[in-house]
Symmetry: C2
Amino acid sequence: DYLSSQPSAMAKPQEPNRTKGYDPKKPHITDQPITRKNWYKHVNWLNCAFIVGMPLFGCIAAFWVPLQRKTAIWAVLYYFATGLGITAGYHRLWAHTSYSATLPLKIFLAGVGGGAVEGSIRWWARDHRAHHRYTDTEKDPYSVRKGLLYSHIGWMVMKQNPKRIGRTDISDLNDDQVVVWQHRHYLKVVLFTGLILPTLVAGLGWGDWVGGYIYAGILRIFFVQQATFCVNSLAHWLGEQPFDDRNSPRDHVVTALVTLGEGYHNFHHEFPSDYRNAIEWFQYDPTKWCIWAWKQLGLAYDLKQFRSNEIEKGRVQQMQKKLDQKRARLDWGVPLDQLPVLEWDDYVEQANNGRGLIAVAGVVHDVADFIKDHPGGKAMIRSGIGKDATAMFNGGVYNHSNAAHNLLSTMRVGVIRGGCEVEIWKRAQRENKDVHYIKD
Amino acid sequence: DYLSSQPSAMAKPQEPNRTKGYDPKKPHITDQPITRKNWYKHVNWLNCAFIVGMPLFGCIAAFWVPLQRKTAIWAVLYYFATGLGITAGYHRLWAHTSYSATLPLKIFLAGVGGGAVEGSIRWWARDHRAHHRYTDTEKDPYSVRKGLLYSHIGWMVMKQNPKRIGRTDISDLNDDQVVVWQHRHYLKVVLFTGLILPTLVAGLGWGDWVGGYIYAGILRIFFVQQATFCVNSLAHWLGEQPFDDRNSPRDHVVTALVTLGEGYHNFHHEFPSDYRNAIEWFQYDPTKWCIWAWKQLGLAYDLKQFRSNEIEKGRVQQMQKKLDQKRARLDWGVPLDQLPVLEWDDYVEQANNGRGLIAVAGVVHDVADFIKDHPGGKAMIRSGIGKDATAMFNGGVYNHSNAAHNLLSTMRVGVIRGGCEVEIWKRAQRENKDVHYIKD
Ligand code: HEM
Ligand code: HEM
Ligand SMILES: [Fe+2]
Ligand SMILES: [Fe+2]
Ligand SMILES: [Fe+2]
Ligand SMILES: [Fe+2]
């Protein structure tokens, strides 16, 4: 069979991926544009049956089937079980190996995960790894750049060229007996955990065979599918980006509520092998809570977690990026190297001739328009005109606030050759040959 | 009189500041420690009467005086009027000259401000300027460093050495006829707007003379005093510091609610001559709203406002400061200059001998412990061992996330002499004399 024909660790594009009989050498339908004549060849009718036809049938049937209380409770419980099969099983265990599971837990997750009717683990995890490795690019199987609807269900409703999807390493999945078994017997698994089991429980339990079939089976599948599909659509579209904003993944509590905790997706794309998606105790991540509980029960082990040092580093860098963007939009005054150079004596002369110039730290500032607004009074600021006000400004008279320093820098008009006044006095000393000047 | 004896722009310590007959040459009571025998000399009994005795009398009297609805409404309205006298008048107009007022508005503010019984404008504004200029130091008249209670009322209840309080320029106040007039006739003003006017309105209006006196007079004074004192205490103690955290002022909505909008005190200390304390429309600053309304009515003009560019600069710098503190607490890996220098051939040899070493961008990393956790799979990361993985790591195979770069830097063990592998090949070229090597 095909598994033994995989010598390399990498999954090849020609690996069968749910569509049997695919021949990479033949031209693929997606190589042709969609026209009036060939559009039906572009549609993936099998997927359509599973994610559009079946729920439609369920909705219509529900008009004639009364919903019993026990069946409703069972449908909701089974909704959570099959949802966990996807989030804790397909996603965090197999796609990301963010923890290890014992055989019983693996069989349980492979079973209920299959009941969500979203393809085999092998197929799902392969696409998902490509999604992480090639996020937002042409090789991303459900890139949100192609539209929200495309990332939600479009990519399944329409046929995809298998060559387009990026390649990833799934050697670990090919070595996993549960994955291989589920992939091989996928249709039987789907039929049993997707429809037969929920019907059986309601039928044998309280005699509601039809209700079990329609509500816990068909309609429950519809809701689980739509909810988990939100991880590909909503989670790349709605919310904040606290860790990295180069790509589309986002954190939002609404997405988390819908997807059993997979809504902290900016975190998840940055730290994909962390068994958590939410790192704060107050955030909603029931998938994480279950994995943790399984660990306490001895069913799960080796839960992977990034050090909080690494997580905080990401947060700090993203904040820095945002801050730098904000800083770049503000006026910080003329850069010092773009200012004209003045002689000290010129500065004093111009100030004596009535210009409102003040030198602070070797930079000349035109404060004329600000004198009347000076919070410390007109007399104070006037006392610095034509002088070296460095010391006055920095605590000699008043230790000006940060805001005052910022404001001052917007008033720059020149720099003084040699820097501060003291340099001028040194020069005077040198010129006055009587005094001995020690050069350093 | 003393005003004409002020040749300089600066207020001198010996200027009479409500306590007449103060002689700066005589030793002051505060030079002596408080003892059992002299404690009563340390108490400022006049202030005690105004801020402790009077309200006490009002509270007791209130037991026998029924509160009428009209009087209650009048007391609340007059509370706001006298509060505004302090916030819009004493504080923003006179202490900070954050806007200009026409004569009618000045007279109104000087009148109702006096009715709050917190001293004359001249005395209040002088202390307040010292508070801004010497915030949190020994020269700050109500430094919160001496305790919350001290900053609230302690500084008034106990006598202060006038020499201790910092000096400030109040020449503009000495030139303001309304300020001078209010200071000279302060007691008459207090009696009239503090007690007589509120009593008259309730008495002549609806015959409630005693109620007007107790509720709109005495008790209203008590509430206005306590509320505005919160600017000195609560505003330096409770809340956030979005603009500068070197000193104590803080922003808090609770303080704003209590003080007619003076609660955005971190902003205010940074931008004292801005007529606003709250800059966002949704923040509570009724004092600002009144000043703005007076402007529309032609009563106020020249409202000063810092450019939002200056305000945002302060915010960005404070955020940067916080971010730098956060960054400093994190582990960013061994700095490059503290790493041992390796030869390329040593690196390859050690990797061949079984060490999990990977060179990226001229730095050698020990990834041995990470191989099993690598989110991209064991095979991928192993393929970089003993090689120059710079290109692989940076997009050649996978364009690693920011988090991956951060993690990598914690695994540093050495730097390669000459940098990347390419240098080694250049050297090989040079040594192989057949090839011509152009030195740059
Ligand atoms: C050269 C340009 C100047 C600028 C842009 C400037 C700006 C400011 C600003 C924005 C404030 C209020 C913020 C704060 O509390 O720090 C202030 C306050 C003050 N400035 Fe200046 N200043 C200048 C020069 C001077 C000079 C030369 C002196 C004295 C020699 C002086 C003395 C004071 C004093 C005493 C205060 C405190 C006012 C108070 O809060 O009562 N300033 N200045
Ligand atoms: C040298 C130390 C390495 C470190 C610290 C490291 C770290 C990581 C981390 C944290 C991720 C998951 C985060 C993300 O999506 O970017 C990752 C993913 C990946 N790494 Fe590495 N890596 C290393 C070396 C390599 C090498 C040498 C290769 C290949 C030559 C490689 C290939 C990949 C691939 C393909 C993924 C994507 C996995 C997926 O999301 O499916 N890594 N790496
Ligand atoms: Fe995603
Ligand atoms: Fe994922
Ligand atoms: Fe203050
Ligand atoms: Fe103030």
